[in-house]
């Protein structure tokens, strides 16, 4: 062996006490394994809940916000405050003006994947005497499918049939059950402005949200405009999907300069989801960090014990010309080797745990447990593992460097 002398000493120390080395490494293994597993769990679950969310909501939605009445005469003197008693919402219509122009501008933007117009219609679904109120989305079904992947939620029928059937409708499974309607049956709808239409059920879908299943339906854009007595240029919302959904807030800021209408990102529209996501992250992060800390104490303990047992050796090394830096170097190397072994096995442990858990059947539309291999988490776990062990070894190594050989020799 032609190792550097410090490495040689470190390695000999470790090899002559294999059991302790292994126990210390195992501490790191468990710490890192559980850490990566937990974080993967959170990331997997977050992705799953985002996916569920994006089946019903776009990344960004552009619509006309309600405007409150303003004073007729603009306030010229800052000394006075203009007061309007009982202000009213002044919107005459929710329609966006010149939606084609807005959409054409949007699609030119970098990173925009899909842009789709939508008309929301409040309506009643009727069958015989039973009646449910809900919301129909008037869409170009192929664009909407590209955005929400509606096809993946279909229990019966096919979204493409809506293209061929102008008066077709896709309804949620809750509506179908309550009204006792099957595929290809007819259903009566009555809009909020009193238009009645007979629609043909071309599909039944089931999302992970039963409330949506009980209210939502998809119809062709033209039908929705007819239901509201509006012309073919009537559009209430423009839905936008972008490449990275996490960039949506940045995007919404950028788009605000492009249009006078309200641009709402999905994070703002789903504050509750976002806050529970944050809670999960903090909770799991804290638990796994605590486990890592325990592992670090294990390393600290073993290195400390080694140093206590090796006081004589440290003294003789110092007497024969090893400096304090060399002593630190030796014990840091020991720590790093233990940390490296532990981390390596920890990565394998995490991979094994993820593999096992990803095979657990949970039912629902996801079927299997939402967890996956994330390279970035493994890399982060490995780096954190090495840093934690480094810290745990550095403190006792520093103390070892301060040992005064004379005190040892005098005993």
């Amino acid at each position: 062996m032609k190792l550097n002398v410090n490495s040689d000493i470190a390695l000999t120390h470790l090899l002559t006490r294999k059991k302790q080395t292994l126990i210390a490494a195992m501490g790191v293994t468990v710490g890192i394994g559980i850490f990566i597993f937990m974080i993967s769990l959170v990331v997997g679950f977050n992705r799953y809940s985002d996916e569920a969310l994006f089946k019903a909501a776009p990344h960004l939605r552009i619509y006309k916000d309600d405007i409150l009445s303003q004073p007729l005469i603009p306030q010229s003197n800052s000394g006075y405050t203009a007061v309007i008693v009982n202000p009213k919402i002044t919107n005459l219509s929710n329609a966006l003006i010149n939606p084609e122009k807005i959409m054409a501008d949007l699609i030119k933007q970098e990173d925009v994947v899909t842009v789709a117009p939508q008309v929301s219609v409040n309506l009643f679904y009727n069958n015989g005497t039973s009646q449910i109120n809900g919301i129909a989305s008037g869409v170009n079904i192929l664009e909407a499918n590209a955005m929400f992947n509606i096809q993946s939620t279909m229990l019966a029928g096919d979204v493409r049939n809506l293209v061929a059937t102008p008066n077709g409708i896709l309804i949620g499974v809750g509506i179908a059950k309550k009204l006792n309607i099957q595929l290809h049956d007819n259903i009566n709808v009555t809009s909020s402005v009193g238009v009645v239409k007979v629609m043909k059920v071309e599909g039944i879908f089931k999302t992970s949200n039963s409330n949506i299943d009980l209210t939502k339906s998809y119809v062709n854009l033209a039908v929705s405009q007819q239901l509201l007595h509006q012309s073919s240029s009537y559009v209430t919302d423009i839905l936008v999907n972008i490449k990275d959904p996490n960039e949506a807030p940045v995007f919404s800021k950028r788009l605000k300069t492009l249009t006078i209408y309200k641009v709402e990102d999905w994070q703002a529209a789903n504050e509750q989801t976002m806050s529970s996501k944050k809670t999960r992250g903090v909770m799991f992060g804290a638990i796994s960090l605590a486990i890592l800390l325990v592992a670090a104490f294990g390393i600290y303990n073993i290195i400390n014990m080694t140093i206590k047992e090796k006081l004589n050796d440290i003294a003789i090394l110092k007497a024969t010309g090893f400096s304090g830096k060399d002593v630190i170097n030796i014990f840091i190397k020991e720590t790093l080797i233990m940390g490296f072994i532990g981390t390596l096995i920890g990565l394998l442990l995490a991979a094994g745990l993820i593999k096992v858990v990803s095979g657990i059947y949970i039912g629902g539309d996801r079927e299997y447990f939402p967890i996956g291999f994330e390279l970035s988490i493994f890399i982060a776990g490995a780096i954190i593992g090495m840093l934690v062990t480094l810290g745990a070894g550095y403190i006792p190594a520093l103390n070892a460097a301060k040992i005064d050989p004379i005190e040892i020799f005098r005993k």
């Binding site: 004589n312 090394l317 090893f322 400096s323 050989p405 020799f409």
Partner: protein, 232 residues
């Protein structure tokens, strides 16, 4: 006879202990040791011999006065520099051998030379075998240090002290734990080292027989040198 070169020199060294009460352990120590001289320091227990040796060894830096080794001022140097000076210029032999128990005898001898880094691993190995042969324990080279007898361990420790061909070898009761046969071997080795290899040996000892065979005895008492060349 050639004029003798001074290898180690102290100038009015004083040392205090503060626990449990302030106590002056060394007082106004000034002396010189010459090249290839075999010097023993004798005196009653607690007279400050060992304390002085640790100051000479550069390990203890909390003292007053000045220390010179091979013309270089040691007092005031940084710890890392002192470590390097020890590594190259000073070899140690202690009363309790202090070998590294996990390593073979050979490795124990090699470690200071590997630290010095002047020669390649193979050269160091070769030199270590030579030193072990000099002390007559070459056949034990590959055994773990802990498996040897006390006398053999002490000889390994001497071999380790010699590996970097230091100018000075310092010993604290080198024969304190040895039987007469091993004491004889150690003594002969020291005489050989000073005569043939020109190395300086400074040994603290209680053993008057051992002291009587050295070139010069420095007698200490109550923290002072009371005789620079005591005849025994």
């Amino acid at each position: 006879m050639m004029e003798k070169q001074v290898i180690l020199k102290t100038n009015r060294i004083a040392k205090y202990f503060y626990e449990p009460v302030k106590f002056k352990a060394l007082n106004d120590i000034s002396f010189e040791v010459f090249e290839s001289e075999f010097v023993t320091m004798i005196g009653k227990s607690g007279c400050g011999k060992s304390t002085l040796l640790y100051i000479l060894s550069t390990m203890d830096t909390a003292y007053e006065g000045e220390l010179f080794i091979a013309g270089q001022k040691i007092t005031g140097q940084k710890q890392d520099q002192l470590a390097a000076i020890r590594n190259q210029n000073i070899g140690f032999v202690f009363q309790f051998h202090y070998l590294l128990p996990e390593f073979s005898c050979l490795k124990n001898v090699m470690i200071p030379a590997l630290k010095l880094g002047k020669y390649s691993y193979e050269e160091v190995e070769e030199q270590a075998y030579q030193k072990l042969e000099l002390l007559g324990i070459k056949d034990q080279a590959l055994k773990p240090a802990a498996k040897l007898s006390g006398g053999q361990q002490q000889r390994v420790a001497i071999a380790r002290a010699l590996i970097n061909s230091p100018k000075i070898i310092m010993c604290d009761e080198p024969t304190g734990n040895l039987d007469s046969k091993n004491t004889e071997i150690v003594l002969e080795t020291f005489q050989q080292l000073s005569k043939e290899f020109g190395q300086t040996i400074i040994a603290v000892t209680h053993d008057n027989d051992f002291a009587s065979k050295s070139d010069r005895n420095i007698e200490m008492g109550d923290g002072k040198i009371i005789n620079h060349d005591k005849k025994i």
